[in-house]
Amino acid sequence: MRRAAALYRSSVGKKILMAITGFIWFGFLIGHMAGNLKAFQGAEIFDEYAHHLRVFGEPILPEKGFLWAFRAFMLAAFVIHALLAWQTSSRSWSARGTKYRSKENLNFSFASALMRWGGVLILVFVAFHILHMTTGDVHPSFAEGAAYANLVAGLRNPVVASFYIVAMLAVCLHLYHGVWSMFQTLGAHHRKYSAYRRPFAVVMALVVFIGFISIPVSILAGIVAP
Amino acid sequence: MQLDAKVPAGPIARKWEKHRFDMKLVNPANKRKYEVIVVGTGLAGAAAAATMGELGYRVKVFTYHDSARRAHSIAAQGGINAAKNYQGDGDSVFRLFYDTVKGGDFRSREANVYRLAELSVNIIDQAVAQGVPFAREYGGLLANRSFGGAQVSRTFYARGQTGQQLLLGCYQALQRQVALGTVELHNRHEVLDIVVVDGVAKGIVTRDLVSGEVESHAGHAVMLATGGYSNVYFLSTNAKACNVTATWRAAKRGAGFANPSFTQIHPTSIPPAGAYQSKLTLMSESLRNDGRIWVPQRAGDSRPANDIPEEERDYYLERFYPSFGNLSPRDISSRRAKEMVDKGHGVGPMQNGVYLDFKHAIERLGQPVIAERYGNLFEMYEKITGEDPYAVPMRIYPAPHYTMGGLWVDYNLMSNIPGLFVLGEANFSDHGANRLGASALMQGVADGYFIAPMTVGNYLADVPREPVTTDHAAFGDTEREVRGRADRLLAVNGTKTVDDFHIELGKVMWENCGMERSETGLKEALATIPEIRERFWSQVRVPGSGDTLNQSLEKAGRVADFLEFAEIMCWDALRRDESCGAHYRTEHTTEDGEAKRDDDGFSFVSVWEFKGVGEEPVLHKEPLEFENVQLSTRSYK
């Protein structure tokens, strides 16, 4: 804890914490995506998996015990990440001060420029997404436990589906820069292997992107049907 | 004017050691009671300020730069000499001493030079400990290269940025003391006068370059490390701001100015490209290790270099000086280059250069090796000229580069004004009439780290410990003079710019007091300079006001001083009726065109006493004895 505090005190430390929390979410996304893909294997397997998530760790843990612990953990990571993003960003904005009249941005990277607003979009998405898929508050026909049905019904609506897809674009870009940036921030730098950091980030970003949108796309296309 | 060199007795090899023992020490508790003023944050100034602070004195250091790290030392490229004999090629303290005295054409003080050679060894240790990343061999040990005028490899280097790395070492040591509170750094402050009370240096008057404020600062001792004045020629390899102001103002307050005319012309700089040329860029002399210098045999031959066949090229240095060839000392190489150009063999669009060719070296060692050794210099050259030196030979020409002259100092680096110490290029240095490559850094660092901190301590030991103040009338008077001077410059409001006059002066000096001097030329210059000065004070335009950042005003003040100082240079060159080292009087040459010394008549240091602007200064002499090096005519054949 004292060490985390020590990090939290410096701008670089904040970034390191962002990298760690970002990485946690990155890990979650991979798992989450893999889980989602089970939708292609049909309702039983998908619901079975969704159910498994809830009873995970029983009987040692009460029902949903693991799930809540996990949710708490993910929420913490998210809040820390977002909070630090806000802190570092506002520090940078005030540091920049006056803008340049003519700015020809050297090595302009769309992705790195969009980290902040893309991030905010992710925030909005996640909020909506949980109300949508987990609590069902914004879901047309939500039924506790019927994960598969909820998924399909939820993404039938083209507007909702396209919002998902746009959000995934944000996630994709966020990771494209984020994963590479993460290596840099955590000082994972090596004479020989550094060259592979970029490609790795690209692959990861694409895998996550394609993996995720495959669901709403194929639901719209009727490939994944009730 | 009293000139006592205070050289300790005893055999030369033991003088410094003995002197160190004989010098008085200030007890640690009392050091804090002494305030020392250091002017300059180059190698000499930064090293001195850092060390004095470390020793416990209260130090105030001044620079007109925005940061201590900008000092002109940063530009030194080639390297720094030290008698480490890591190469086992027969180097030794005595050989470095010998080479330096000989290279200086027997116009330097033996005892100082020997001490310098002795200390050179500690410099490298100090620098490496500070983290200066000198070039290394694959074994992990330090690498060396050979440098002009020496037959051993004793030059340590950090790529082509040796001065930068050494200065950063000093700068970091200095900033550390600043952080510790022992040193107070005043950047963007230009020292415009020295305050002398009853013949003793008591402080300085500065101008805050941002607010324009004129302030006094008092100290128990004042150390000037303000660098060289090659910019008197307008075009030189020095940084644009280099100037003579601090040392000249000290001279006007009674400090003797020694050998002012001894200026070194560097053989390898890039020739001017046009009238707008603002400064000359040096191509490190180390290039001469692998480059071969030549001109077309036929005068006026305007063919591209690569179209001129071997047999029609004249590798004149190799022809004249078989044993040293392209590594012949600077003054010789420079003069020969000028000779070739004057005879019409000049190359390049303006026919104002000679070739420095790497073709053979690249064939012999391969491009990678050359790139490894000189990569950044080649890049620099290409940026400036747009030509690729790997493909076509470089064009080079001599340029004013270093000033051996400076304020006279005794063995303790103290001028004839008690309490006024002078370090680095600003003093009349240990280089006699000509400086060997890679020995100025050596001198700056040695003065700053190892000599001045001890000798100043020895001086302070006898100075009463009362706190210093700026109450004395002399401070007020000096401040008033400084303000008045600025106001006068701003008031002229004429039609010409400061540079107009600087360029005009530069031409006069280059033609009459440059690489070659003659009685007629010098007398002519002595007639012209006062006339230029007149016009300067009646026709110059200095826009803006005195109470803001005003770069025109800064320049004007410096040029005004050059306009006074130039005269003393010419007097010195005129009165020294012999040739020696860089001082080449056309009346005194050997049959094969070498400098011809007159040891019976001129084996002394010329020390000039200021008598008033436009007045003929008075010459004092410090005789030079040579007990350890045989007086001989330099021969690099």
């Binding site: 060490r3 955590l186 000082g187 | 940061s67 074994g139 900033q175 940084a239 603002s278 826009p543």
Partner: protein, 250 residues
């Protein structure tokens, strides 16, 4: 060639600044960018106007004094080049050139194109050195250093402290400058004892000075006249991680 300059003029920190337009006529392609400005200033002076204030000294790309935004690029269009080494052959007749000072809250403007970069010195004060008493050093060859390390250290050490990295960074972060010094010293055996305290203290000062927080944007590396690599930033981050770890540990 003939050029039109749009130069930022500001008489002092408090007063408002503005762009002024100047003609720079028949400029030789062999002239340097600063020589071009010299010519403009000479003319302004003759016309009784105040010349443009800009900083420069060595004009060899080594002292780090010069520096201005030229058409939105620090030190102008040619890479690995300081403003003073920029030559006019890179411009075309009739070009419009926008010239602005370095902009960053940690670089307060003094006048026209002159800014105060003292914040970089203060980062060095915080630990950018090796503590060694004068005269106390052991023989220079006592500790051999792998050539690769010495060379890499030299790469980092070649930073000239110009501030272009800050000027271009979207976050106005001085991370490249700081990383260069941390790496220069941290790569050498002599720099080991203070290695971790150094980085923690220097970053603390970096933040104190009001520089922004790096998001690995990478523009600094492009802008750097010495081509200092962002790999050094990774190195700094790692050292800081270890550093805060140790610091908090004891």
């Amino acid at each position: 060639m003939n050029l039109t300059l749009h130069v930022w003029r500001q008489d002092g920190p408090e007063v408002r600044g503005r762009f002024e337009t100047y003609q720079a006529d028949d400029i030789s392609e062999h002239a340097s960018f600063l020589e071009m400005l010299d010519l403009v200033n000479e003319r302004l002076t003759r016309d009784g106007e105040e010349p443009i204030a800009f900083e420069h000294d060595c004009r060899e790309g080594i002292c780090g004094t010069c520096g201005m935004m030229i058409n939105g690029v620090p030190h102008g269009p040619s890479s690995m080049t300081a403003t003073c080494q920029l030559h006019m052959r890179l411009f075309k007749d009739g070009d419009h050139i926008w010239i602005e000072p370095w902009r960053a809250s940690a670089f307060p403007l003094i006048r026209d194109l002159v800014v105060d970069r003292g914040s970089l010195d203060r980062i060095i004060n915080a630990g950018g050195y090796i503590s060694v008493r004068t005269g106390s050093a052991q023989d220079a060859n006592a500790v051999p250093i792998r050539k690769q390390d010495a060379d890499l250290s030299m790469d980092a050490a070649s930073c000239i402290g110009c501030g272009a990295c800050v000027a271009v960074c979207p976050n106005a972060s001085a991370m490249l400058f700081t990383a260069a010094k941390v790496s220069h010293l941290g790569l050498l055996p002599q720099g080991q004892p203070e290695r971790y305290t150094r980085v923690v203290d220097m970053i603390a000062q970096h933040d104190e000075e009001g520089f922004g927080s790096c998001t690995n944007h990478g523009a600094c590396q492009e802008a750097c006249p010495k081509g200092i690599s962002v790999d050094f930033i990774a190195r700094l981050n790692r050292d800081l991680l270890v550093g805060s770890w140790k610091a908090a540990g004891d």
